[in-house]
């Protein structure tokens, strides 16, 4: 039987399944019946945890390095700590608690102490204690904690969902595929799996209950289908398809240093989206003509507290230097909505996507905004910097952001810093900005269209809500007309328009975007060559006339049907 999900990352895989299930660990407040027996239960859990950590330590020393492995020595010391044990025993004696509950209380106390320390390194150690105590208490409850780092054979990960940090820990050598129960093509796990080039399916409902740990799964990340316990014929078929897929990818490599030019000589840029410096390797490997979107949120999300000016400066500098004179568009903090930070308290909002997020949040947390702008300006001497503001809705907002930027620049100059050339642009993702694009174009150097938000704000439909996800229609004439308005307005003002939303790497959308006159297409690094290959086969004139026709249609279906004619190649 073929199970269906949403295709999230291209490629095929056949491998054994590892179910990534994080158990709920919370020990209830209870008293023990037998002191010795209760203490023994905890000691056994500690023994098991020590064995596991020892294994992780050896593995890390082998696959990464000794220094990274040493931290697990500290984890083992935390379990063996005599003072902690004394406190656990004291609580068991005095209050009569079970050993598990007492251990939970003691570790929570230490976590609080560490969190309260001034030094950020020491604060981070709270996470180590949490990690260790969760493992011990999981064993105490007879549950086990999955550890993707322990995987050392070909595996397909099946999970309810994977957070950005979960995905970041996956070892590409062994993780051959990913299946998650929730999410869509634009969810984090989907974006990350494309970034890592791991074939993936998302939104595969109840995958965890259908699939048993250790069973074999054949996964098709292009169609979004998978088969549980396939026979040998199917297994071979999928392996062959994967080999074919890799061969095709190899072929595309000849385009790495080529320009993106249509048959009739229209030159556009194909750039890449990145989340951190680590992604630059993929950008360069795939011959992207620049970075069209550097999402700085990950810098904030991977940190236990607000990243300072110097930390950010170093991060931006590294990316700018790595890209040489190629354009790097760095988007200022786009937090709020579905992305929160542990160390900033966000007000509970009725409609977070319509609330205090991105540039709005930066205006209300002005010091955070200024720190980032100062770091960006300082980095401007190291490359071709383009600063981009997200979620701009009005001309006033753009002017305000620019005046704060100028203010930072003035004080940096006063402090003796050198400032290089840089450009300022905005994301077009709110329908209001489409309407006033000609006005906005007078105040900035470029536009970049964020289609994910533009589409959901246009249709007033949450793209993550499965019951209204049918309204997420990138090919709808309402969207195509908006793209035309924005691109035309920018060209009239003498500036250019790019696109960094998911639509730019929607293969079928390429001829439409090209025909509309889009100047820059920014996408996952792994889609760059395939898109360049396609565009190089097309005729700009032919895509233009097709777009003329498409603008007359009344629904997505007609647009998609028109594309079937495939008459836009040169």
């Amino acid at each position: 039987m073929i199970h269906k999900g949403i295709a999230a990352s291209d490629g095929y895989a056949v491998a054994k399944v590892f179910k990534y299930e994080v158990p709920d660990i919370n020990i209830e407040k209870k008293t023990h019946d037998n002191f010795e027996a209760s203490l023994q239960q905890l000691e056994q859990a500690m023994e098991q945890s020590l064995k596991e950590i020892e294994k992780i330590k050896t593995h890390t020393a082998k696959t990464i390095n000794q220094e990274s492995a040493d931290i697990f020595e500290a984890h083992m010391q935390i379990i063996k700590d005599p003072e902690m044990k004394k406190e656990v025993i004291a609580l068991m004696e005095k209050e009569g608690y079970t050993s598990g509950y007492a251990y939970q209380l003691v570790t929570e106390k230490f976590i609080d102490i560490f969190k309260a320390l001034e030094d950020s390194y020491m604060q981070e150690r709270a996470a180590d204690i949490f990690d260790v105590s969760r493992r011990v208490l999981a064993h105490y409850l007879g549950k086990s904690i999955p550890n993707p780092k322990e995987i050392d054979e070909d595996t397909i990960i099946v999970a309810h969902d994977l957070t950005p940090s979960d995905t970041a820990q996956l070892d590409k050598r062994y993780i051959k595929g990913i299946i998650t129960e929730v999410g869509g093509r634009t969810s984090h796990s989907a974006i990350m799996s494309r970034m890592l080039e791991i074939p993936a399916i998302v939104g595969a409902k109840e995958a965890l209950s259908h699939i048993n740990d250790g069973s074999i799964v054949a996964l098709d990340g292009i169609k979004g289908e998978f088969i549980i316990n396939p026979d040998q014929v199917i297994q071979n078929d999928y392996s062959n398809k994967h080999q074919e897929f890799l061969k095709e990818k190899e072929k595309l490599k000849s385009l790495i240093s080529k320009n993106t030019v249509t048959k009739d000589n229209r030159h556009v840029e194909v750039a890449a989206n990145i989340g951190s410096y680590e992604d630059i390797e993929m950008v360069v490997k795939n011959g992207a003509e620049g970075v069209g979107l550097y999402r700085t949120e990950f810098l904030y999300m991977h940190s236990k507290n607000l990243p300072g000016e110097t930390v950010q400066f170093e991060a931006y500098k590294k990316v700018l230097q790595a890209m040489d004179s190629n354009k790097v568009i760095i988007r200022t903090l786009d937090i709020g909505g579905d992305k929160n930070l542990d160390y900033i308290s966000f007000d509970k909002e009725m409609n977070p996507f319509l609330g205090n997020r991105a540039i709005r949040l930066c205006f209300s947390e002005i010091e955070i905004f200024k720190t980032q702008l100062r770091a960006l300006l300082r980095a401007s001497v190291h490359g071709n910097l383009h600063i981009m503001f997200p979620m701009i809705a009005t001309v006033e907002e753009l002017k305000k952001a620019k005046s704060i930027l100028k203010e930072c620049e003035a004080s940096l100059i006063k402090e003796g810093y050198e400032i290089g050339n840089y450009k300022v642009g905005i994301m077009i993702e709110i329908p209001s900005t489409v309407m006033i694009a000609s006005h906005l174009a007078k105040h900035c150097d470029f536009f970049s269209i964020g289609t994910n938000d533009l589409i959901q704000y246009t249709f007033a439909a949450d793209r993550m809500n499965e019951s209204v996800s049918y309204l997420y229609q990138p090919f709808h004439p309402s969207i195509i007309k908006q793209l035309k308005m924005v691109i035309d307005a920018s060209h009239e003002a003498g500036i250019w328009t790019g696109m960094c939303g998911e639509m730019a790497q929607e293969f079928k959308a390429l001829p439409i975007l090209l025909g509309l006159g889009l100047d820059e297409f920014s996408m996952s690094p792994s889609s760059v060559l395939k898109s360049r290959d396609e565009i190089r086969k097309m005729s700009f004139e032919k895509t233009k006339s097709m777009v003329e026709e498409i603008l007359q249609y009344e629904d997505s279906k007609s647009v998609l049907n028109r594309l079937e004619a495939n008459d836009f190649y040169g």
């Binding site: 220094e67 040493d70 931290i71 020595e73 500290a74 083992m76 010391q77 935390i78 063996k80 700590d81 005599p82 003072e83 902690m84 230490f110 102490i113 560490f114 320390l117 001034e118 030094d119 390194y121 020491m122 150690r125 180590d128 204690i129």
Partner: protein, 90 residues
């Protein structure tokens, strides 16, 4: 009263007295029968507990003392000090 030998150190590592050297010192200290203490500001904790030592949050630029009671105190101190020097903590 048992006599205690003390030595004072200043932290130069920018991460402070961090987890890796501490875990090695704790491991070593645990193998000695001596009472071994770490003193920082007005606090005195056993060097056999990683949690107590780490919860002091000793940052770069701070000074702390290690005190050892009992037999061969100076040799014990030498062994612990070697860990600090090897990790460029002091």
């Amino acid at each position: 009263m048992i006599f205690m030998v003390e030595r004072e150190y200043k932290v130069i590592d920018e991460a402070g007295l961090h987890a890796r050297p501490v875990s090695i010192m704790v491991e070593k200290a645990s193998n000695f029968d001596n009472n071994i203490y770490l003193m920082y500001e007005d606090k005195k904790v056993t060097l056999k507990s990683i949690m107590l030592v780490m919860s002091l949050g000793i940052a770069q630029g701070s000074t702390f003392k290690i005190g050892v009671e009992g037999k061969h105190a100076n040799e014990v101190l030498d062994a612990l000090e070697a860990v600090l020097t090897n990790h460029k903590i002091i």
